[in-house]
């Protein structure tokens, strides 16, 4: 039984470390801030979750606290990445590739138009 848990732990820790390394390579190689955000936060979230789960397999007595850490990582990391993307968009950073769809700007324009109608 313990060898099965250790084999599962080795597999999950290896997957987690590989995703952390791939996320950092993506941060270094991507062209502009939005794709860097995509590579950095999503891959590192998956890598951290895999690594925590693997160590939870190695030490089953720790599993409750590790589970709480996993819940906080799942909750807090998308909030910070969404906030960075919104701040970059509002401070006027353009994407480097050709822009086809900008749903945020369209939503803001329609919102401002509705505010002007209400004022009239």
């Amino acid at each position: 039984m313990e060898t099965i848990l250790e084999i599962l732990g080795v597999i999950f820790i290896s997957i987690g470390a590989a995703f952390l390394l791939l996320g950092s390579i993506g941060i270094l190689r991507m062209p502009d801030v939005y794709s860097r955000l995509q590579a950095g936060t999503k891959a590192s979230t998956l890598g951290t979750l895999g690594m925590l789960l693997g160590i939870g397999f190695f030490e089953p007595a720790w599993f409750l606290k590790i589970f709480i850490i996993m819940i906080f990582v799942i909750l807090s990391n998308p909030i910070s990445s969404h906030s960075i993307a919104r701040g970059s968009c509002r401070s006027g950073i353009k994407p480097k590739l050709k822009e086809t769809v900008n749903a945020y700007r369209d939503a803001m324009e329609s919102c401002e138009e509705s505010i002007k109608k209400d004022d009239k």
Partner: protein, 85 residues
Amino acid sequence: MELFFEIILGVVSLALILSFIRFIKGPTASDRVVALDTMSVTFISVLVLLGHMFNRFIYIDVSLVYAVLGFIGVLIIARYLEGGI
């Protein structure tokens, strides 16, 4: 099994180096905030790994505090870039 954890620690250290190079190079402030966020999430897994290698249960608490409070700094810098606070 000791050697496996040491090799994993080396791989994660390489990931930290690559994130730090982006912090040095990054042209705007948003790139540096992205690098800080990634380093902060990577350090959570480094702390849990070191707690397993030292074999102390109480060391997990530091990682828990990081997971709860670590994103507040990133959040407030992003609110400043947006123009609000």
